[in-house]
């Protein structure tokens, strides 16, 4: 319930239709793409411009009301789950592309613009916006900044942070600030990078200048089959080790390819233990030369079959399997749980073997789909949320995979963010001094901790509750430090 005084304040700065408080109205905002966490907010505000947003934040700040900013709600770590006493600030009305500058190769957009809409608008100029999370039809650029979203093409073209020049944002105090600039560099602390992946804990963005990339003249993809997963993992290392930077380098195991084949009929080999999709893009000459090298390396790495797309139609068909992997898995199981650990590439086959062992231990199926070039795993653990033992098992299975990633020098999230979901693993990945640095940054932006509280970065006492801080594989980090 929103305090009546706060409600009155918000109502005074927003149009009638832009403040929702009844359960029927706020229900659509109760969760994000990770549906295991749900909460109804006290209110949903839909500001129409920056001035209204500033007023909303100022009121919430003055009344100590938590604020959760929200884009399209496609995030996968619970980052957009409302706070029960708080206000969801939905940025849906910030949906204009303000300008496209083909000389500077940039576009200025509002945060509620969908990822793919930027590419569509830039297409007449021969440009596109490179980062392409799977949800790009729906997800918004504001959410992409908050999560530092990646995608299939980020191996070559970088993550969101590499493709954004400038962000205009409002702090919880209502102050409007700009990070970065129109040039490639900017003086002073790199606040632009800090905002990326900050999961709505530092500021609410209102305007984003993105970098546009010239559309490659042509692209070709190779689909390579492997008789075992380890060989496919080694082939990934061989491609990268050969100095090739493919436009995309994706891997799927047998569970995934079978699910996909039944769904989209992309022509994936059904007997292979794993397949790789390797894309080259550029001018026709570059693509021909790179594809020749790619097929040579894949062959030498033991591919049992290689199919190279002959035209754009076939290229899109081969990619359709990868892009449809999540819904394809969704047809096989009532629920699935997508993990987002990232590991150094050379640990790939070791980690995949361990995950295989865990499927037996937990008696749950797991399909592996991932951005192999970045070492970013997306194991999809299949379970039935109505069976309590399976739900609990899936969560524990996922947690073990994440801790395995940390063990081999990786990280618990490559692109989906920490949200609510991975708070316990944050306590495993980071030491106390590191968490204190995160908390210091947070306090500099939001000393009252009103923006998206309870997400992203655990407090030290939270880590103590999780029991994760004290012992990690028997080794106490910094035993000399006093503990709480």
């Amino acid at each position: 319930m929103l305090d009546p005084a706060v409600h009155a304040q918000l109502a005074s700065v927003l149009p009638d239709s832009a403040l929702l408080t009844s359960a029927e109205e706020t229900k659509p905002y109760e969760c994000d793409g990770l549906t295991m966490y749900r909460e109804l907010p006290a209110a949903v505000a839909l500001p129409e411009d920056e001035a209204q947003l500033v007023d909303v934040l100022k009121q919430c700040h003055a009344s100590n009301v938590p604020v959760v900013a929200r884009g399209a709600g496609t995030s996968l770590s619970g980052g957009a789950v409302p706070h029960k006493d708080g206000v969801v600030v939905a940025m849906a009305k910030f949906r204009n592309i303000l300008s496209i500058d083909p000389v500077a190769c940039t576009a200025v957009v509002q945060p509620g613009v969908r990822n793919l809409a930027i590419s569509s608008a830039a297409a007449p100029y021969g440009f596109y916006y490179a980062p392409d999370p799977s949800s790009q039809i729906a997800c918004t650029i504001g959410g992409n900044v908050a999560e530092n979203a990646g995608g299939v093409h980020c191996l070559k073209y970088g993550l969101t942070v590499h493709n954004v020049r400038r962000v205009r944002a409002v702090l919880i105090s209502g102050e409007v600030v700009e990070f970065g600039g129109d040039a490639l560099d900017s003086a002073g602390y790199d606040l632009l990078a800090l905002i990326h992946g900050s999961e709505g804990l530092l500021a609410v963005t209102t305007e984003i200048t993105v970098k546009l990339t010239p559309k490659p003249q042509t692209a070709q993809v190779a689909l390579a089959a492997f008789a075992d997963v380890g060989a496919a993992g080694a082939a990934v290392a061989a491609v990268i080790g050969a100095g090739i930077v493919p436009a995309g380098l994706e891997m799927m195991d047998r569970s995934a390819t079978r699910a996909v084949e039944e769904f989209v009929h992309a022509g994936y080999p059904q007997d292979a233990a794993a397949v790789l999709l390797v894309e080259a893009d550029g001018t026709p000459e570059e693509v021909a030369a790179e594809m020749a090298e790619i097929t040579r390396v894949l062959g030498a790495a033991g591919a049992t079959g290689i199919r190279v797309s002959k035209d754009e139609r076939e290229r899109l068909l081969l990619w359709s399997g990868r892009k449809a992997a999540f819904p394809a898995i969704g047809r096989l199981t009532p629920d699935y749980y997508c993990i987002d650990g990232t590991i150094p590439r050379r640990a790939l086959s070791h980690v995949l073997g361990q995950i295989e062992a865990l499927t037996h231990q937990y008696k749950l199926r797991c399909a592996n789909v991932f951005h192999a070039g970045d070492g970013n795993l997306h194991p999809l653990i299949m379970y039935d949320a109505n069976v309590e033992a399976e739900r609990v098992g899936a969560e524990a299975f996922g947690a073990e995979i994440l801790e395995l990633c940390i063990d081999v020098g990786g990280t618990i999230t490559g692109e989906h963010g920490v949200g609510i979901e991975k708070l316990p693993q944050m306590c495993v990945q980071f030491r106390e001094a590191e968490l204190e640095c995160f908390l210091a940054v947070k306090s500099a932006f939001d000393p009252k901790s009103l923006l998206n509280p309870g997400k992203g970065v655990p407090t030290l006492s939270r880590c103590a509750e999780f029991g994760k801080m004290h012992v990690h594989h028997g080794a106490l980090p910094h035993p000399e430090l006093p503990r709480f």
Partner: protein, 471 residues
């Protein structure tokens, strides 16, 4: 000295400093030095001299030693200034309030090279040329190449860039993780081996470019690249500066993946011809190119590039395909600062560092050229231009009436011009002590946040005080 900070920091108590020096010399023996000449050598980089001798210079060998030194400084509230090889240009290493200079040059080991993952981990004192020498034979290289043979730690701290940022990015894109000693003397690790992480805030990029004001960088995880199959370098000369700049703009718009594009104006060209004894070249506006890729890819890039240069009145390309010819060419470019200095021996020099969006590059370079000519000072232009970044080496005689003022006025106008065009006062040299005012002009309200972050992470303000962010 900058008025923003002078009032905010106080020199530590002389007795506290003396006690600390005693402790450090007891612990580190000959690795803790207090002689005037050593302290003097550690008081400045390559830019203008700044008043500020450290009280003692310590040469640690391990992360733990750095942490222990910082803990002592923290307890005594004495400033800590990290030092690489002293090639910075904005007064970053000046000990404005005295204190302990931590010279990291003896932490100079390449700790690991992971060819499969295309990364390596090095200690902060490793020099960039040393790293590439050690990578020989692995088929890998580290591309970032500021003019000076700087340390990797210093390059990370100042978010350095170089001639091939247009293709490979700056230190911002190429540092994967850091080991940091925090102001209270604890070791933390940021980022790591994996290519991407969205766990927690991006502390790696916060410390990259923080110029030693938030902590001391002791180890750096770097991204490496495969040595390209084919490399080809070319020189193209132009009748007008505008033709050269328009060439760059069009090349960037077409997305030609040039590895390097360097602009030298007529004056800089004259300096380089004289200093590096370049033959067969005229003192005209010049572009140096380098193309990386497969044989076919490079041939294609070159053909595209030549079509553009012809359109803007460029000469036929002179080619340097042999490695030794290429290194001679780039050596000449890297020595541009020293070449400019040699134009008028005895004069002082400082380098400006404007960076603008590529769409404003022509306006900014041409206005700046006219501005520089009007001052009557010798101020050659050189720049990476592909990323919108260019420098003037402004020469002046500190004893001649008004010359310093004219030089500083020019530098200030260049910073403000770049900012007004949506750019920055510093593309790669950093803020240091000289650009605190420009930082405020560039970022406005966001400087408050930088200040708050500085206070949150370094509440005692002992890390390189007086630099980077006006308190």
């Amino acid at each position: 000295m900058n008025t923003h900070t002078a009032a905010r920091v106080q020199r530590p108590d002389a007795k506290d400093v003396a006690d600390l020096v005693t402790l450090l010399t007891a612990d580190y023996g000959e690795r803790a030095l207090t002689s005037r000449s050593i302290r003097d050598q550690h008081s400045h980089g390559e830019g203008l001299a700044d008043a500020g001798l450290p009280d003692v210079v310590v040469f640690p060998h391990t992360n733990e030693e750095v942490a222990a030194i910082v803990r002592l400084c923290h307890a005594a509230r004495v400033p800590v200034i990290a030092f690489g090889v002293g090639t910075s240009l904005e007064g970053h290493v000046a000990a404005l309030y005295g204190g302990v200079c931590i010279d990291l040059s003896q932490m100079n080991r390449v700790l690991e090279v992971n060819a499969e993952d295309l990364d390596c981990r090095v200690q902060a004192g490793v020099l960039r040329e040393q790293l590439n020498a050690e990578l020989k034979g692995t088929g890998l290289f580290f591309p970032i190449d500021p003019g000076a043979n700087a340390t990797i730690g210093g390059m990370a701290a100042t978010r350095a860039s170089g001639t091939n940022a247009v293709r490979y990015g700056t230190m911002r894109e190429n540092v994967l993780g850091l080991t940091i000693v925090t102001p209270d003397g604890r070791l933390i690790r940021t980022g790591g081996r994996s290519r991407k992480s969205s766990a927690g805030y991006d502390l790696t990029r916060l410390y990259v470019g923080a110029e030693g004001t938030l902590g001391v960088i002791t180890e750096i995880q770097l991204r490496l690249y495969g040595v390209p199959e084919a490399i080809s370098a070319g020189i193209c000369q132009f009748e007008s500066l505008e033709g050269a700049v328009q060439t760059v703009i069009l090349a960037m718009q077409h997305g030609i993946p040039v590895a390097r594009i360097e602009l030298l104006d007529d004056v800089q060209m004259e300096a380089c011809i004289r200093y590096s004894k370049l033959e067969g070249l005229a003192a005209k506006p010049t572009l140096l190119f380098e193309f990386h890729g497969s044989e076919a890819g490079v041939a294609e890039q070159v053909a595209q590039m030549q079509a553009i240069t012809e359109e803007f009145g460029g000469s036929a390309f002179e080619w340097a395909t042999k490695p030794e010819d290429r290194s001679r060419l780039w050596k000449a470019r890297h020595n541009a600062y020293y070449a400019a200095k040699a134009m008028q021996p005895g004069k002082q020099v400082f380098a400006t560092d404007a960076c603008v969006p590529i769409s404003r590059l022509a306006d900014c370079v041409l206005e700046t050229k006219a501005d520089a000519d009007a001052t009557g000072l010798c101020a050659p232009i050189v720049g990476h231009v592909g990323d919108g970044n260019f420098h003037l080496c402004v020469l002046f005689d500190p004893d001649a009436a008004g010359e310093r003022e004219r030089a500083e006025g020019l530098a200030r106008r260049i910073s403000l011009r770049a900012i007004a065009m949506g750019g920055t006062c510093t593309g790669e040299h950093g803020v240091g002590v000289h650009k605190l005012d420009a930082l405020v002009a560039e970022h406005g309200e966001a400087v408050d946040l930088m200040r708050t972050i500085k206070r949150a992470l370094d509440p005692l303000n002992i890390m390189n005080p007086g630099k980077t962010v006006p308190l």
